[in-house]
């Protein structure tokens, strides 16, 4: 298969896959407590369907989607709802947010599922509904509700290509790799479901070329399935080739236009973990209640690839990995390039959690001494979306957000490549994350002030119109008054009254 390349990237980033890539997936034990932040996906937070004291079953929906961009949440084991309150959530700023907490009973009693082994009989909207009701979101880390991505009926462009993203480009993470290695045939079945739903002509499953075993197990599964529309391909291991835009460029040579989504150019791209969840939801009728998570780094005694019930505390996963080592320094959710550090392990894993990295002091940089930018341009040559980070840095540092926006700040994918190559050790990605959110706030405020201005202007216009109308009315009235008693008439009346008076006089 012909491959293209994307600009920049980090070809020589240390992969750190060996720590965990050969460890088979193990199922983590049922934890005592499960906690579900209601907003663990992009969009509106889910709305609780249970109350404190309610008994719940595994697979039972405990919170419903609110609005279109949202996703329901399901309990991952049976037990009792013990709390619906604010709880620490996995967030870079250490926020708390409304969450449902369940004390498990250890029975793991399941609710009844409705399997659809004959998915071919179902229509696309029916399948989209199943995916939506199963609470499936992008498991690659973005957590965007998958049903919206798959609801392509209304799109002007037909979906031509389905891309399955198995390019796990972040260092340390091996959950997708293990899933592909161990459950390839189910993923292929999931791809068939997606092809049927989308009406796409072809599916390309892409993995990095650093894992030939995985590739051959995928090839085997494809061969035994014998679906001509499904192809697997190996792509060069260059961070961030697993980024959606970079993967699309690598596989098709096409760029997703700025501000558009892949479906606008006839492409849908789905993470392989998500495909597995879709297969489970359709074929077995099981909602999304667990996922594969890599727990790794020199900060844990025994790295693991775990099948984890969503809602499990990180501390419980660390126990499975035989606890922390003395070197444990940073607790990172996600990979070392785009993940975020957590201040506590009393935080549950969510649908988007693909990795818990407990890094030692020499695995991570704990303090960076930033020096002045020397304009060397290494950041620009590493940028996978061809931005000019050194200029963006200049503008974002001085809060000239408009200028940063002109230089396409909002196209930044926050991959961190610029940061890693910067010889002056400037935390560029952090600057851009800040500037992007500040820009969003600014745009939002601009929108609000535009609305306010429009209302003000409309009011002014209305007042002016009223005034003009009033003026017009009084002018007309005046004119009418002026016009009506014409001079002659008045004169005539005066002379009439005079003659009358005179005649009276004369009568006297």
């Amino acid at each position: 298969m012909k491959l293209w390349s994307f600009h920049g990237g980090l070809p020589s980033l240390a992969e750190h896959k060996n720590e965990s890539v050969n460890l088979p997936i193990e199922v983590a034990p049922i934890p005592k407590t499960l906690t579900y932040p209601l907003g663990q996906h992009i969009g509106n937070a889910a709305k609780p369907l249970v109350q404190v004291g309610d008994k719940v079953l595994r697979g039972q929906k405990i919170a419903a989607a609110q609005g279109v961009v949202s996703a329901p949440i399901h309990a991952a084991s049976s037990g009792t709802v013990s709390k619906i309150a604010d709880h620490l959530i996995p967030h870079p700023s250490g926020f708390s947010a409304p969450s449902i907490t369940i004390e498990t009973d250890g029975l793991d009693a399941e609710t009844d599922y409705t399997p659809h082994a004959d998915f071919q009989q179902l229509t696309a909207p029916q399948l989209v509904d199943i995916v939506r009701e199963a609470g499936i979101v992008g498991l690659g880390g973005a957590a965007f509700p998958t049903a919206i991505k798959l609801n392509t009926q209304s799109k002007a462009v037909d979906i031509d290509t389905l891309i399955l993203n198995g390019a796990e480009c972040e260092p340390y993470i091996s959950c997708d790799d293990r899933l592909l290695k161990e459950r390839a045939s189910r993923i292929i079945e999931g791809i068939e479901i997606l092809l049927h739903m989308l009406g796409a002509k072809r599916a390309i499953l892409a993995v990095e070329d650093n894992s030939p075993d995985t590739f051959s197990s995928i090839q085997e599964a494809i061969n035994s399935n014998n679906n001509q529309a499904i192809n697997a391909t190996q792509i060069p291991t260059i961070y961030p080739t697993g980024g959606e835009k970079q993967l699309i460029q690598t596989l098709t040579g096409k760029e997703v236009p700025s501000g558009k989504i892949p479906a606008d150019i006839g492409i849908v791209s789905i993470n392989v973990g998500t495909v597995y969840a879709i297969q489970q939801a359709v074929i077995e009728g099981k909602p999304l209640t667990s996922r594969i998570i890599t727990v790794t780094g020199e900060g844990v005694n025994k790295p693991h690839n775990l099948e984890v019930r969503i809602g499990t505390y990180i501390s419980a996963l660390i126990d499975v990995c035989h606890g922390y080592t003395k070197q444990a320094e940073r607790l990172v959710m996600g990979g070392p390039m785009m993940g975020f550090a957590l201040s506590s392990d009393s935080i549950p894993v969510v649908k988007a959690t693909n990795c818990i990295l407990v890094a030692s002091q020499h695995e991570v940089i704990t303090e960076k001494q930033a020096m002045p930018c020397i304009r060397c341009g290494l950041c620009a040559s590493a940028c996978p979306v061809s931005l000019s980070p050194q200029q963006l840095y200049w503008f974002s540092r001085s809060d000239q957000l408009d200028k940063a926006a002109q230089l396409n700040l909002s196209d930044c994918i926050e991959c961190g490549c610029c940061d890693v190559v910067c010889p002056s050790h400037i935390p560029l990605a952090q600057h851009f994350r800040y500037a992007k959110s500040a820009l969003k706030v600014q745009n939002h405020e601009k929108q609000l002030s535009n609305i306010a201005r429009e209302r003000f202007e409309a009011r002014e216009e209305r007042l002016a119109r009223d005034k003009a109308e009033r003026a017009e009315r009084s002018r007309k009235k005046k004119a009418a008054l002026k016009n009506k008693p014409a001079k002659e008439e008045i004169d005539a009346a005066v002379s009439r009254s005079k003659t009358k008076k005179n005649s009276i006089h004369n009568e006297d």
């Binding site: 320094e329 996600g334 550090a341 695995e363 991570v364 196209d411 010889p423 002056s424 994350r433």
Partner: protein, 341 residues
């Protein structure tokens, strides 16, 4: 358990300013060794005076500006500026030439503009240009290459000249001469043909005697920088292509009174300028397209100054003038962002 937090990426940077500057110094080695071999130990005297002045003035300026000394001194940027200036200076110069030059480079051209990263003009070239304008006589005293000095230059002679102990004019006349570029310009002005001029012993098969090997050594050093990705190809290729194209065009028109393109490329500071001076990241254009344009413009301007200007060598003035155009060049050559037309 509780943890400290910081923000992604958590991976240690792959690079540092110090490392980049160190590679520049390493890549200068072939050129420095060749210069010592061809022109004697005067080069080393320049380097020693420039580097020590640079470190002292850098420390004083940092202190005056209330900045930490450690990180700025150890980034080696002042050392690179000093060495580049030292290599551009005449190989036999009284001590105050490198001293004043380095003072100008570090104090005026670098720190008064805000220090590393903020200076719009290449500090070494600003210093060179000011020295050239202020002390034209001292700046044209170049040692003869060793092949033209059968007895070599004695150590005590070098010490005498460097310490400015007014050595006998006969001594200076015996061991120094005009540079090949200078000689070429002067003689062309006297209506000599290139062929006649190049019969002089200070010329060799490619360009100037001694100079040609120094140029080739800097070219080799430059290739190290390219290979190590310390510099990008656009600036040196643009500069050399610009210089080659314009000199080739005029060479085709009037070959008898125009030095060959090869002569231009291997004379004076063309190679040092293309790979080490114009590529100073702080003062160069930053976009890929912009860097090529920047290089080409310096190449063209260098030829124009060498051929029709008042000075035999034009690299320094060309670099400073095109430094001024950098914001404009960058503004008009932004890279095309992914997903944009």
């Amino acid at each position: 358990m509780q943890f400290l937090t910081s923000s992604a990426p958590f991976i240690a940077p792959q690079n540092s300013v110090q490392k980049m500057m160190l590679w520049v110094l390493i890549a200068l080695m072939p050129g420095i060794i060749t210069m010592v071999w061809q022109f004697g130990y005067g080069v080393l005297a320049n380097i020693i005076i420039c580097v020590s002045t640079a470190l002292i003035t850098e420390a004083i300026m940092l202190r005056l500006r209330g900045r930490a000394l450690g990180p700025a001194l150890s980034d080696l940027s002042a050392v690179v500026t000093a060495v580049l200036l030292a290599l551009a200076l005449p190989t036999l110069a009284p001590w105050w030439i490198p001293f004043i030059g380095t003072f100008i480079a570090i104090v005026i051209a670098k720190h008064l503009y805000g220090g590393l990263g903020y200076n719009p003009f290449n500090p070494a070239m600003v210093a060179f240009a000011i020295l050239m304008v202020s002390f034209p006589k001292s700046m044209t005293v170049w040692a003869l290459p060793h092949s033209l000095l059968p007895t070599g230059i004695s150590f005590s002679d070098i010490v005498a000249i460097v310490l400015d102990q007014q050595p006998k004019q006969t001594l200076i006349d015996a061991i120094t001469a005009a540079t090949p570029l200078d000689e070429m310009k002067t003689q062309l002005g006297l209506n000599q043909t290139v062929e006649e001029i190049r019969a002089s012993s200070i010329f060799a098969s490619l360009s100037g005697r001694g100079w040609q090997w120094v140029s080739i050594a800097f070219l080799l050093g430059g290739l190290i920088l390219l290979f190590k990705r310390i510099i990008s190809w656009q600036i040196p290729v643009g500069l050399l292509a610009g210089l080659f194209t314009i000199s080739f065009a005029f060479y085709l028109l009037e070959p008898s009174v125009t030095p060959s393109p090869l002569f231009h490329l291997l004379s004076g500071g063309a190679m040092l300028g293309a790979f080490f001076i114009a590529t100073d990241p702080v003062t160069a254009a930053t976009t890929p397209k912009g860097r090529f344009i920047y290089g080409v413009l310096i190449g063209l301007l260098t030829y124009i100054i060498r051929t029709w200007g008042g000075y035999p060598e034009g690299i320094a003035f060309a670099v400073i003038l095109i430094n001024m155009a950098v914001p404009l060049i960058d503004y008009y050559t932004p890279p095309r962002t992914y997903g944009h037309k």
